[in-house]
């Protein structure tokens, strides 16, 4: 009996090893291509094991790193400002909704969640932001559209509802006003939820490309993801970006087209792929805390 049991365990592990490989190998292909010599790429195609290893692609990209660094700068600015502002607004709104004794609790809740069910769609928002708020080519066009998500409010509210009302009441008896209660008592008590949501919001800002595609044309304000979009659509974006070619006097025929394309993906996506998995459990927690029953 125990022997048969063992065999099924081995098979099960084998299955998951294969699945894990199927997930991880595609990443390795991208990294391998970025490290392969351009000539061997055109000869052998994209291979998992480079015939000739070459750092040319990275050398080209890092010799004039302005484009990449600027994109990192934009993305970091947008992520930090957006996450702090978004977290504060989310907490404030969620706290008010979580208070059962607030008179306008139900209308406010409906007001917030209705936006999840129905929206004006792309065109009205686009016209609002470009024609009325004049935010084209402004970093605010990257921050504002995804600042406050009803889903995050819901998660936060689920957490804050668990804070006993007695704490708030006793603070009131001591003469504290609502703002003081919120900033001095509720926020410190909500640190775990704030950390989880802060991470989720930062993540969505870091990986945001849609608003950048809509609103950013100015090459100085291109965030990482938009840089990736443009490079994916045409490698010419890199080569036609005069900083690369002029500064180095690159002979375009020897420019490592294929490997540079993959190298920019590695340089732009790699760091986060190393950092985010450490916070993996928070991502699931964010979804299971307040949003799902039970």
């Amino acid at each position: 009996m125990p022997k048969k049991f063992e065999i099924s365990k081995v098979l099960l592990n084998l299955l998951f090893i294969l699945l894990s490989l199927a997930v991880i190998l595609p990443f390795l292909l991208v990294i391998a291509v970025s490290l392969t010599d351009e000539k061997s790429l055109t000869q052998n195609g994209y291979q998992f094991i480079p015939e000739t290893v070459s750092l040319d692609a990275y050398r080209y990209l890092l010799d004039s790193p302005d484009v990449l660094f600027r994109a990192y700068g934009v993305t970091i600015t947008v992520t930090v400002v957006g996450a702090l502002l978004g977290l504060l607004l989310t907490a404030m709104t969620a706290y008010v909704i979580s208070r059962p004794d607030y008179r306008y609790n139900r209308p406010t809740t409906f007001y917030v969640f209705f936006t999840m069910l129905f929206s004006g769609g792309l065109v009205p928002s686009y016209i609002l932001i470009t024609q009325y708020l004049h935010l084209k080519d402004s970093l605010f066009a990257l921050i504002l559209p995804i600042l406050l998500s009803p889903f995050n409010i819901m998660v936060m509210k689920g957490f804050m509802s668990k804070i006993p009302l007695e704490i708030i009441e006793s603070a009131k008896i001591d003469g504290a006003r609502e703002f003081r209660i919120f900033f001095r008592i509720i926020l410190p008590l909500s640190t775990p939820a704030l950390a989880t949501l802060g991470l989720l919001i930062s993540f969505s800002y870091w990986n945001e490309w849609f608003n950048a595609m809509l609103y950013i044309d100015d090459p100085n304000k291109v965030p990482l993801q938009l840089l990736l979009v443009r490079t994916l659509n045409s490698i010419e974006f890199l080569t036609s970006n005069s900083e690369f070619t002029q500064a180095l006097g690159i002979d375009l025929s020897s420019f490592p087209n294929n490997s540079a394309r993959m190298a920019i993906a590695v340089l732009a996506g790699g760091p986060m792929l190393v950092i985010f998995p450490f916070f993996q459990r928070f991502f699931v927690k964010g979804l299971t805390v307040g949003s799902l029953k039970g």
Binding site: F113, G121, L128, Q225, L228
Partner: protein, 343 residues
């Protein structure tokens, strides 16, 4: 989940110092009948004063939603206009239902609707069953190893669709891509993946599964962890097999979670995954027949074709049908089992 919100506000009313005043009204002595209107107004004003500070706390959020969610709803009128940038939203001419007539006259509307609904159905069916199966299997593996597999499967979740586009490109690229080179070395003809529409439903479903299966598996796995272990002990004493336990305990216990995830997905049936359908096919015109969904069409109409009104009309169609679908899905679930509905 919305239900809890209303419950908290409705039935669990907790008396607060000062709230007793509210019930009596501010002027308990004044005759109610004579000055009914005025006293109602004053009472509301009094309530507002009591709740003023909390209201102020929610005000930034309310204003934000007003500007970025409610005001754009006015913009839905563009769907009934011939929008011109120089004339603006209110200056452009009304054209009635012309935009919709034009949209439904071609086969575009049918194509993008069919694609959006069919793809979403496939994603839901394939994704949910794969994630459930993997979560149940993961539960049978020692915690140390299971942690490792979870992280590996979860990894693509951290990538944006743009980056997944690069990964797909490394495989599908016509001249140098891994798949074509492998095909050639095996003696087959290479395929122009970005110009051949037929295989794309399978490619998209596979890529979607690759990216999200880890996340969904973890959600269901967390759900399994939450099941009372006494059920399993009792079953073990009764001599139940692993298979019987999975069918008779795990799946029924996970049902509420699965159903909530399903309602959410059905409600979103009309909202396609723009990133997946835009970057993975590399926005290739050859593939629109089998990859184009409502969201990509709306984007192209606005940004590439420049037909604002057509884009708005399609967006309007998507929003309205989407709302109807959410309400219907929730209504049906409420009829069958009120505990599982969202509100």
């Amino acid at each position: 989940m919305l239900k809890r919100v209303t419950m908290a506000s409705g039935t669990e009313h907790v008396p607060v110092p000062g709230a007793g005043l509210a019930e009596q009204g501010p002027y308990p002595d004044s005759p109610r009948g004579t000055q009914k209107k005025k006293s109602w107004f004053r009472r509301e004003l009094h309530h507002f004063r009591n709740n003023r500070e909390l209201f102020l706390l929610s005000l930034p959020g309310i204003l934000y939603k007003l500007i970025f969610a409610y005001i754009p709803m006015i913009g839905l009128i563009i769907a009934f206009k011939n929008y011109r940038y120089d004339l603006g939203m209110f200056g452009s001419k009304w054209v009635g239902l012309d935009n919709f007539r034009y949209l439904f006259a071609t086969d575009t509307a049918w194509r993008i609707t069919r694609n959006t609904v069919l793809y979403n159905t496939a994603y839901i069916l394939v994704g949910t069953s794969a994630a459930l199966l993997l979560a149940i299997l993961l539960n049978e593996i020692k915690a140390k190893w299971s942690k490792f597999y979870q992280t590996a499967l979860f990894l693509p979740h951290f990538l944006s669709w743009v980056l997944v586009g690069y990964v797909a490109y490394a495989f599908l690229n016509h001249s140098d891509g891994f798949i074509n080179r492998t095909l050639e070395s095996l003696g087959f003809d290479p395929v122009s993946w970005y110009q051949t529409a037929a295989p794309w439903p399978f490619i998209l479903i596979l890529v979607q599964l690759w990216k999200v299966v880890g996340f969904n598996t973890l959600i269901y796995f967390a759900g399994i962890m939450g099941i009372n272990s006494e059920y399993y002990e009792a079953a073990r004493i009764d001599g139940a097999t692993k298979w019987q336990m999975a069918i008779k305990i795990t799946i029924p216990q996970l049902a509420p979670l699965v159903i909530i995830m399903l309602i959410l997905s059905i409600g979103n049936m009309f909202r396609g995954d723009f990133g997946l359908h835009y970057f993975i096919p590399n926005n290739s015109g050859f593939l629109y027949g089998s990859t184009d969904i409502i969201d990509t069409y709306v984007y192209r109409a606005l940004r590439e074709v420049g037909n604002v009104s057509m884009s708005a009309a399609t967006g309007f169609y998507q929003s309205v049908v989407g709302l109807v679908l959410v309400l219907t899905a929730n209504g049906i679930v409420k009829k069958i089992n009120p505990d599982h509905s969202m509100w």
